[in-house]
C-alpha cells in the first residue's frame, strides 16, 4: 500500500518487519515467491475526530487477532479496547503482510501495533506540552484525552489536539513501550470485540459478498484426483434456465447463471467424459508405501553416535506409529467474488494470504500488483488451510470472461475434496534407556506425505528430552492427497509418536508417566507446564496401566510450551474424554481470555483427529467428503477443559493458537492404555478399538 496522511495523525512504519527466517522459508517453500513490500505503511491513525484505527495485514479467522491488536493499541494509548477500530486484510488499506499463519500475529504484528500506538501517544503528549504548557512527565494519556496529573481540569481530547492538523510520524527505533508492570489492558480479561457482529448476522464472510449484477458460478470438478477431461457436451446445460454462459477456458469449465440454484442445475446437465489416472494410491496402500518410499531426508537433530548408543543400551524399544490424512473442514467452504473495472481487479476472498493471492492474481493476468485489490473479509475458519485459495483465481478468470462480477463458492464436498489435507505420516522410533528410564539413545524417523513441502513434516520433530546420542530424520513420502497447512503443521503428528513412545518406555519400566518426563526434561519452562498441568489435574503417581484412564503428554510449538493431562472412559467403541487439564507458557500474555479460548478450541479440534477423523480415499476419490460420512467433534461430547496460563513477561509473546492441539492425541492414547492396557499406535483411536 502507499502510505498516505489523513486528517489527524498517521503513524507509519516498516511493513515486512521482524519476519523470522523460518516463516519466510516456509512461505517460500509453500507458496512460491514472496515479494515483500517493506513499506513504509500506515499502522495507526488518530483521526481528526479523535478515533483510533489500527491497520494490519493479518486476517481474522477466529483466532481473535482483531481483539488482541485492539488491546495492544488500547494499552499504549490509555483507551478501552472497544474504543479502537481495527482494519484487517484489505490490500489497499493495510501494511503488506506475509500471511496469517504460524502464530506470528501477536508475536510480531502485535508488537508493531504497540510501537505505533506508543508513537501516537508520545506525539499527542508533545502536542499537549505546548497547548497545556506543562512538561510531558506531568501529563497522562488516558480515556482519549491528555490530562495534567496534578489538575484533572487541564485536559485536552485527542480531537482537540489534532484539530486542523495533518501529521505524519515515523515509529522511532527506540520508541518506549509500557512496562508489563504498568499494564491495565493487556494481560487482563476483556470481552471479545467482534461478537456482536457474529451473533446478529452482520459479520460479512466471503460467501456473503453480493455485488450488483453478480453471476453465480459452478465449476466442473474432475471426477477423481488426476482425471482429465476427455469430452464435454454443453448443449443440454446451455438450454437450462438462467444460464448466462458456459465457460471452457484453459482447463476451467464453469457454468455462469443468475442464481446459485440455476448454476447448480446447469452444472448437473453438463455431460463430461473423463480419462482417469491409473494407479491412484488408496488409503490402504499408504502406510506400506511410506515404509518403502521416502525422499528428501532432512536431519533436524543429531548428536553423538546413535547406532553405537543403541547397541550399548541396557533397555531398548522400537515402535512404529501411523497418522492418516485429515481434511481441514472449516465451517465456511471457500468462496470468492471477483469484479473487474477496466484493468483493475477487486477480489473478496476469505484467504489467510491476501497479499500472496494478490501477487498470484497479478501474475495470472500479467498486471501490476497495484491494479489488484484483495479483501479478506471475516473468515469462517481456516486453521492454516486457507492459505491456498483457488476460487479467487477462478472467480477472477470468469469475471473477466463474462465482464460481470462472478461468485465462486465451494460446496461442502468441493471444500473437503479440492482443498488441502494435513499430511499422513509413518514414524518409526528406536530408543535406548537405562533402568530408571533415562534416555541414552533416540532414533526418530518420520515420513510425512508432504511431497514438495517437507517443512510441514519437520515441524516439532526435535525431541526436548536430554539424550546424548540421537538422530531425528524427517523425509517426504508420496502424496496421493494434496498436502497443506493445518493447525501446528506436522508438529501434532510428530508429538503423537514421540509422546506415546515416551509413555511406552515408562510402562516398560513401571515408572509414572509424569515422572519419566521430568527425569529427561532439562528445560525449566517445559518442566513448569508439566508440573502445573499435572497438579491442576490432581495427578496421582502411578505406573500405567493403572486402570484409572489417565494420560499425559507435553508439547512445544511456535515457541510455546504446553502440557495436557486427560481422563477418559471407554464405552464400547467410543472413547469418552471427560476432562483435560492444560498448561500453556506462551511468554508474555497479551490477552489471557483469548489465549484460553484458543487452547480450548485447539483441544476440541485435536480430539477429532485423535478419536475419529481420517480422510478415506480410493481410486482417486475422497470417500467421506460429506459431514454424513465425516465425523467431527460435537458439543455433547466436549470434555471439561481447564487451562492454566503460566507464561510471564520474562519471555516475549509466542503463539497460543496452535500449541493446544500438539499433545492431545498422545495424552488420550496414553490414557487409553492406562484404562485398557491396549497400546494403540495409530490414529484415529476409535477405529482401532
Amino acid at each position: 500500500m502507499t502510505a498516505y496522511p489523513v486528517a489527524g495523525l498517521s503513524i507509519q512504519g516498516a511493513s515486512a518487519l521482524g519476519l523470522p527466517l523460518p516463516a519466510t522459508g516456509y512461505a517460500r517453500q509453500a507458496y512460491g515467491t514472496v515479494s515483500a513490500d517493506f513499506g513504509p505503511a500506515t499502522w495507526l491513525t488518530v483521526g481528526a475526530d479523535g478515533r483510533v484505527t489500527v491497520f494490519a495485514g493479518k486476517v481474522e479467522y477466529g483466532q481473535g487477532i482483531r481483539w488482541g491488536l485492539a488491546m495492544a493499541a488500547a494499552e499504549e494509548l490509555g483507551l478501552q479496547t472497544d474504543a479502537v477500530n481495527v482494519v484487517l486484510g484489505d490490500t489497499d488499506r493495510v501494511p503488506w503482510d506475509i500471511g496469517t499463519f504460524g502464530s506470528q500475529s501477536t508475536r510480531y504484528t502485535g508488537v508493531q501495533v504497540r510501537r505505533a500506538a506508543a508513537t501516537a501517544r508520545e506525539t499527542l503528549l508533545e502536542l499537549a506540552v505546548a497547548r497545556l504548557d506543562l512538561p510531558a512527565d506531568q501529563l497522562t494519556c488516558e480515556g482519549g484525552s491528555v490530562t495534567s496529573r496534578g489538575d484533572g481540569g487541564r485536559s485536552l481530547r485527542f480531537e482537540d489536539l489534532l484539530e486542523n492538523q495533518q501529521l505524519v510520524r515515523e515509529i522511532p527505533e527506540n520508541v518506549q513501550l509500557k512496562a508489563a508492570s504498568d499494564f491495565t489492558v493487556m494481560g487482563t480479561n476483556t470481552k471479545r470485540l467482534d461478537v456482536i457482529e457474529r451473533v446478529t448476522g452482520r459479520a460479512v464472510y466471503s460467501r456473503d459478498v453480493i455485488r450488483p449484477g453478480m453471476l453465480f458460478a459452478r465449476v466442473l470438478r474432475p471426477i477423481a484426483f488426476g482425471a482429465s477431461l476427455a469430452a464435454l457436451d454443453t448443449s443440454l446445460a446451455e438450454r437450462m434456465p438462467g444460464v448466462f454462459q458456459i465457460v471452457t477456458d484453459d482447463g476451467l469449465v464453469a457454468v455462469l447463471a443468475g442464481t446459485d440454484q440455476q448454476a447448480d442445475a446447469a452444472h448437473d446437465a453438463l455431460i463430461a467424459e473423463w480419462t482417469e489416472r491409473l494407479g491412484n494410491i488408496s488409503q490402504w496402500d499408504l502406510p506400506r508405501l511410506l515404509a518403502e518410499e521416502s525422499r528428501d531426508r532432512v536431519t533436524t537433530q543429531e548428536a553423538g553416535d546413535v547406532e553405537s548408543a543403541l547397541s550399548k543400551a541396557s533397555h531398548r524399544l522400537e515402535a512404529t506409529y501411523y497418522v492418516p490424512y485429515i481434511p481441514v473442514a472449516p465451517m465456511e467452504p471457500r468462496a470468492a467474488v471477483a469484479e473487474w473495472e477496466g484493468t483493475s481487479l477487486t477480489v473478496w476472498a476469505g484467504t489467510q494470504r491476501p497479499f500472496g493471492i494478490r501477487s498470484e492474481l497479478a501474475a495470472l493476468f500479467g498486471i501490476e500488483e497495484k491494479q489488484v485489490r484483495v479483501i479478506a473479509p471475516e473468515i469462517g475458519g481456516g486453521f492454516g488451510g486457507k492459505s491456498l485459495y483457488r476460487p479467487a483465481m477462478e472467480a477472477a478468470k470468469l469475471a473477466r470472461i463474462a465482464a460481470r462480477p462472478v461468485r465462486v463458492a465451494y460446496s461442502r464436498d468441493e471444500e473437503m475434496t479440492w482443498s488441502t489435507f494435513r499430511p499422513a505420516a509413518l514414524i518409526t522410533i528406536r530408543s535406548g534407556f537405562d533402568g530408571d528410564g533415562r534416555l541414552t539413545a533416540w532414533d526418530f524417523h518420520a515420513v510425512h506425505t508432504t511431497a514438495d513441502r517437507p517443512m510441514i513434516g519437520q515441524r516439532g520433530s526435535e525431541t526436548p528430552y536430554q539424550v546424548k546420542d540421537l538422530r531425528v530424520v524427517v523425509s517426504a513420502g508420496p502424496a496421493p492427497l494434496k498436502p497443506g497447512s493445518y493447525r501446528s503443521l506436522g508438529c501434532a503428528v510428530n508429538h503423537f509418536a514421540r509422546e506415546v513412545h515416551t509413555d511406552e518406555i515408562a510402562a516398560s519400566l513401571g515408572v509414572d508417566p509424569v515422572e519419566i518426563r521430568l527425569r529427561n526434561l532439562p528445560d525449566p519452562r517445559y518442566r513448569r507446564v508439566l508440573e502445573v498441568a499435572s497438579a491442576q489435574f490432581g495427578w496421582h503417581t502411578a505406573a500405567a496401566p493403572s486402570g484409572a484412564g489417565v494420560g499425559v503428554a507435553i508439547g512445544l510449538d511456535v515457541g510455546s510450551y504446553t502440557a495436557e493431562c486427560v481422563s477418559i472412559e471407554v464405552q464400547g467403541k467410543e472413547i469418552a474424554v471427560n476432562r483435560v487439564s492444560a498448561a500453556l507458557d506462551c511468554g508474555l500474555v497479551f490477552n489471557p481470555d483469548g489465549a484460553r479460548s484458543q487452547m480450548e478450541g485447539a483441544i476440541v479440534m485435536g480430539l477429532g483427529s485423535t478419536l475419529f477423523e481420517a480422510a478415506e480415499f480410493e481410486n482417486g476419490r475422497l470417500l467421506n467428503g460429506s459431514f454424513a460420512r465425516y465425523r467431527v467433534p460435537r458439543i455433547n461430547r466436549t470434555p471439561q477443559i481447564d487451562v492454566a496460563l503460566v507464561g510471564t513477561d520474562a519471555n516475549p509473546s509466542t503463539g497460543a493458537g496452535e500449541p493446544g492441539i500438539v499433545p492431545i492425541a498422545a495424552a488420550v492414547a496414553n490414557a487409553l492404555f492406562d484404562c485398557t492396557s491396549n497400546r494403540i499406535r495409530e490414529l484415529p483411536l476409535q477405529r482401532q478399538l
Binding site: E60, Y61, G62, Q63, G64, K191, R192, D194, V195, I196, E197, R198, V199, T200, G201, R202, A203, V204, Y205, R207, D208, I210, T259, D260, Q261, A329, P330, M331, E332, P333, E378, I379, G380, G381, G382, F383, A409, S411, R412, D593, S597, E600, G601, A602, I603, V604, M605, S626, F627, A628, V632, P633, R634, I635, N636, T638, Q640, I641
Partner: protein, 151 residues
C-alpha cells in the same frame, strides 16, 4: 406467488421450489444464515419457522409458505440483543463466528421449549450444530446464562 413472513415483514417469492437458504441469503439479502454443508448436518442454516428450528438448506420456500420465519437478523429489537445473543457477547462465545447464528437460533428454540434447561439438555439440543473452532464450552455456558441459570 408464495407469501411468507420473514422477521415480521411480509415477503413474496415467485418460485415455490426456490431453496429457502438461497432465498433468504441472495433474494432477501439476509446473509446471517449460513451455508455449511447443504445436507442439514451442521446447523449453520438454522432458522425458526413458527418458533420451530428448521434447516433452511433442506427446505424450499414453498414448504414454508404462509409461515412466520425468524432469522438471526430478526432476533434483536433494535439495539437490544436477545438474551441468548447478549449471553454469547458477555462470554466471548465465538471464534470465527460462522456457526454462531445457527447455534443462537437453535438455543432460542430450546429455551422457548425448555426455559431452564440443564447442561445435558443444552448439549443434546445443540449437538446437531457444528463448530470447528471448538467454542462449545463457552456456547454451553452462554445458553445456560441466557436461561437465567447461573454458571
Amino acid at each position: 406467488m408464495i407469501s411468507l413472513h420473514v422477521n415480521g415483514e411480509r415477503r413474496d417469492a415467485r418460485e415455490s421450489r426456490r431453496n429457502l437458504l438461497s432465498y433468504l441469503r441472495f433474494d432477501l439479502g439476509l446473509t446471517g444464515t449460513k451455508y455449511g454443508c447443504g445436507e442439514g448436518l451442521c446447523g449453520a442454516c438454522t432458522v425458526l419457522v413458527d418458533g420451530q428450528p428448521l434447516r433452511a438448506c433442506l427446505a424450499t420456500v414453498g414448504s414454508v409458505a404462509g409461515g412466520h420465519l425468524t432469522t438471526i437478523e430478526g432476533l434483536a429489537s433494535g439495539d437490544v440483543l436477545h438474551p441468548v445473543q447478549q449471553a454469547f457477547v458477555d462470554l466471548s462465545a465465538a471464534q470465527c463466528g460462522y456457526c454462531i447464528p445457527g447455534f443462537v437460533m437453535s438455543a432460542v428454540a430450546l429455551l422457548a421449549r425448555v426455559p431452564q434447561p440443564d447442561s445435558g439438555q443444552v448439549r443434546e439440543a445443540l449437538s446437531e450444530n457444528m463448530c470447528r473452532c471448538g467454542t462449545y464450552l463457552r456456547i454451553e455456558r452462554a445458553v445456560l446464562r441466557a436461561s437465567g441459570v447461573s454458571d
